[in-house]
Amino acid sequence: MPEPPIEVLLIEDNPNDVEMTLYAFEQYRLSNRVHVVRDGAEALDYIFGAGAYAGRNVEDVPRVILLDLKLPKVDGIEVLRRLKADPRTWAIPVVVMTSSREERDVVETYKLGANSYIVKPLDFVKFTEAVRQVGLYWLLLNQPGAG
């Protein structure tokens, strides 16, 4: 039985943030097709069908990627750069969700073509509300690119 397509790729290493994000997606019935990867190397393997994900169809793209910047192995900026450089993946909306409010990070991610930048709220309620708004916007309102 083929698995249903993934709607959301969550690239996040902090287990608390993963848990809160998945909670929000479930609580608000935004999607039950969320795939989690916990470092930049695994993210690239998943996206480009390599390593543990060899054979995965690259054309099978999520509707949105939620990307933390601070990741082990390969950082978020590099993942973003690879995503936006490849015609097979550059149309996937990438929402950077990070604790960083540094001007440099913000400007650099936009220059690399990130679609949106959300500073993660520290408060649980505000965090889940932000995830809810992100989910509603990118899964229900935004029209995805072809592919």
């Binding site: 550059w90 149309a91 909306p93 409010r101 001007e103 913000v106 400007v107 936009y110 220059k111 073509g113 679609n115 949106s116 930048y117 959300i118 500073v119 932000a130 708004q133 992100v134 509603l136 916007y137 309102l141 935004n142 029209q143 690119g145 072809a146």
Partner: protein
């Protein structure tokens, strides 16, 4: 000429759609930072501080450009192409809000680096709802690039 910093540049020639969008934004008290231009040529003059907008200071840049595709004088796609290819404007979030559901338009916009693509609902209440949601997302939730 706006006497306050413009947060949202609305590029739309249909007066009814302008009205509905502003109505939606008023709910979040965002409408007084909106500047409306009604064709693609004027949009570019505003963005690049030329022609009728030669006296406008480029900074702070708008948090969002809401762009219809079907515009007089210069098309929405041409405006998008100019905005996303110039380093002075390419990091400004651009959301295409258009009646077009055509694959070529969607694909072209994503290839040009559009941040988001929204198909205008035909129903006017749904259009107000969409404008409200995107106003909240891009003007309140999203972290804009350096201004």
């Amino acid at each position: 000429m706006p006497d306050r910093d413009v947060e949202l540049l609305l590029v739309e020639d249909n007066p009814q759609d302008v009205e509905l969008t502003l109505t939606a934004l008023k709910e979040h008290h965002l409408a007084n930072r909106v500047h409306v231009v009604r064709d693609g040529a004027e949009a570019l003059e505003f963005a690049f501080c030329t022609g009728a907008y030669a006296q406008r200071r480029p900074d702070p840049r708008p948090k969002l450009i809401l762009l219809d595709l079907k515009l007089p004088k210069v098309s929405g796609l041409q405006v998008l192409e100019r905005l996303k290819s110039d380093p002075r404007t390419r990091t400004i979030p651009v959301v295409v809000l258009t009646s077009s559901r055509e694959e070529p338009d969607i694909t072209t916009c994503y290839n040009l680096g559009v941040n988001s693509y929204i198909v205008k609902p035909v129903d006017f209440e749904q259009l107000i709802g969409a404008a409200r949601q995107l106003g909240f997302y891009w003007l309140l939730l999203n972290q804009p690039p350096e201004r």
